[in-house]
Every structure is written in C-alpha cells, then in structure tokens.
Amino acid sequence: MISTLKSSGARTCAYHSDRPAHALCVSCRTPLCRGCATPWEGIFLCASCLAARRTAAERRGSFWGWAKLALGIAAAAALAVFLGAWMSGLWAELLAAAGS
C-alpha cells in the first residue's frame, strides 16, 4: 500500500520472474508481485520478513504467555483441590442430613 513500485526501477517479482512487480518489501526492499506481497499493518512485506517479525512478536509475547499459563495452572489446580474438598464435604453432610 505504501511502497508500491511507482518509484522503483524493478519491473518483475524477485521470486517470480514472469510476474510484474507490484510492491516493494518495506523491510528488505525486494520487489514483489501481488502474490508475494503481504500487507501487514499497512505496509507490504515479503514472506521471510513477515516470518521474522512474527517470530519476534511471538518471542515477546511468549514469556508473559508462559508466565500466565504457569500461574493459571497453579491457580486452577489449587481451586480444584480446595473447592472440590469444600463443596464435596458440604454436599456429603447435606445429603446425610437429608437421609436421616
């Protein structure tokens, strides 16, 4: 969208020589055809640069993601243990009272 090939001298896609270039990868300045250019947050990127950005984004998110997951597992396990014991005890007593 932003860096279409108007100003570039490249005529064909870097990956498909038989296809006309449509855009430039904003990151590595590679000419790309319509099939190879992926719009991402308003800019065109090639597949490798897109993968690199995605990996970086995933790495940034992963630490907190794993920290949250660890916290979630501990909290859910504790909740299952204590809630299970409390509710089952309560129910056993109520049922026994109802039975007698």
């Binding site: 992963s62 907190w64 993601g65 794993w66 949250k68 997951l69 916290l71 979630g72 597992i73 859910a76 396990a77 909740l79 299952a80 243990v81 204590f82 809630l83 299970g84 014991a85 409390w86 509710m87 089952s88 005890g89 309560l90 129910w91 056993a92 007593e93 049922l95 026994a96 009272a97 039975g99 007698s100």
Partner: protein
C-alpha cells in the same frame, strides 16, 4: 467432508478409531486414566463414609482432593495422546502414522492441561447444578480433544481453543447422552460379568463363599463405585474419539480445509470425466 455429520456416523467413526486404528493409544489412555479414576473412587468412598461429619474432616478431604488432582496430569496426558492419534488419523494421514507417532508437544500439553484443570475446578464450582453438569463434562472432554491444536500459551487462549469445540451443540448433546447411556449399560454388563464369574466358580468348584458374595454384591458401595469407574474407563476412549471428530470437523470448516478438499475432489472428478470423454471420442473415431 461437507455433508452433515450425523450421530450414527460419528459413533461409527469413533468406534473405528478406538477399536481398529488406534488400539495402542486407547490402551495407553485407559492405563493413564486408571489411577485417577481409582483415586476418585477412593475419595467418593471416604466421603460417603464420613458423610454426616464431612465438614469436620476438612484437612482429610483436602488431602484426598489433592491426590486426585495430582493424578490428573498423567490422566490428561493419556487422553491427549488418544486425541492426538485421532487428529493424525482424521487428517487423512496413514493409520500407521497415527499409531507410531507418539509424543505430544509439551506446549500443547501444558496449555491443554490448564484447560482441563479449569474444567476440574468448574465441577465443584458449578457442576453441582444439574443443568450445568453436561456443559462441564463436555468442556472437560474438549480440553483433551483440542490439546493437539493448542498453540498459544496464556490465560485465555487455551480456554478459548477448548471452548471453540462447542460449535456443534446438537452433536455434543447427542454424544453426551449416548456416552451417559453407555456408562449405565457398561455398569450393568460389568456387574453381570462379575456375578456370572462368581456363579461359574461356585458351580465349577462346588464351594459357596459368603465373603465373595458380599464383596461382589450391589450393597457393597465400594464395589458399585468401582463398577462405575470401570464403566467410565470403558466409555472414555469413545468419548474422546467422538469429541476429536467433532473438533476436527469444526476446524476443517473454519480453516477452509474442508473447501480445499472439496475443490480437490472436484478436480479429480473433472479429470475422470475428461478421461472418460477422451475414451469415448477415441472409440467413436476408431468406429
């Protein structure tokens, strides 16, 4: 892929997966779930024993509950292994691959375990209301069935992946009722098998042991609880396989795999028609 999946077809496919395509994973699932089920039996038995004074034994109940939850990671691993086998088999890969490719990515396992633990906490939290029990049971099963597709860690992402399995409520309801009836039938069958075995031993060896009669009677609470545990163990693989099929169908529809498969089939049909036409043309020209 595109035709609507009926309950009968779902059960057939699940039975085929469990019995023919994935017997090793089914056995692994049953073995892994066994300690958890036995601990549940132990917990319930003790709970019934101390019934009237249950709330006075808080610490004891917590320790029993702790042991039961501690057995969950192994049980979940077994269930997730079966679900993974189902997902490989359902993706159209060779059945031998589904059998041989053991191993579940630990990230997927942990994310799925988290969803399963949340489901375990939901049982005492809302499961005691009768109408919420099917929801909690299904969510617990979906946590295992969606484990192979868990990709992102976090607090919400694993729960959302599992919750997406609710996209086919009719099928889920049908599967739940069928599994429930299956458990009851399995309990009766197990009871009859034990009684027949006892009668056979008594008539063959000519002894009458009151002790065994009492142990294997319906009045023995522990025996009845063990029968239920056995029935759950017997039905569980079919339940997981059925849920895996529902999840896989939903994912195929959402991701476009379904459409891609249809287009590929159309292409094959077009090729066949073209070949047939070419054959007819050559026959005509020869005539």
């Amino acid at each position: 892929m595109r035709e609507r999946l009926g309950l009968g077809e779902l059960l057939d496919r699940a039975a085929n997966l469990v019995g023919r395509e994935l017997p090793e994973r089914t056995a692994l699932c049953v073995l892994a779930v066994l300690p958890w089920r036995l601990l549940q039996v132990c917990w319930l038995h003790r709970l019934i024993e101390i019934a009237a004074t249950a709330t006075q034994h808080g610490q004891y109940l917590v320790s029993l509950s702790l042991w039961t939850v501690a057995a969950m990671p192994l049980a979940f691993w077994g269930r997730a292994q079966l679900a993974r086998g189902c997902s490989i088999a359902l993706s159209g890969e060779d059945a031998t691959l589904a059998r041989s490719r053991f191993g579940l990515p630990w990230r997927a396992y942990l994310a799925g375990l988290y969803a399963a633990l949340v489901a375990a906490a939901l049982y005492p939290a809302i499961g005691w209301m009768i109408f919420t029990l099917p929801f909690v049971t299904v969510y617990s099963g979906l946590a295992a069935a969606t484990a192979p597709y868990q990709e992102r860690p976090g607090l919400w992402a694993p729960l959302t992946v599992a919750a997406r399995g609710f996209a086919s409520p009719r099928l889920l309801a049908g599967l739940w009722f069928t599994a429930g009836i299956g458990v009851l039938i399995a309990v009766i069958q197990l009871f009859v098998i034990f009684q027949l075995g006892l009668a056979a031993v008594q008539t063959t060896f000519g002894f009458s042991d009151v002790w065994w009669e009492q142990i294997l009677s319906a009045e023995n609470r522990l025996f009845v609880l063990l029968l239920f545990a056995g029935a759950f163990l017997a039905v569980e693989p079919f339940w997981i396989a059925g849920l895996s099929i529902i999840v896989q169908r939903g994912r195929a529809r959402a991701s476009g795999d379904d459409l891609a498969g249809w287009i590929a089939e159309l292409g094959e049909a077009a090729d066949l028609a073209e070949n047939a036409q070419a054959g007819e043309d050559s026959a005509e020209s020869a005539a």
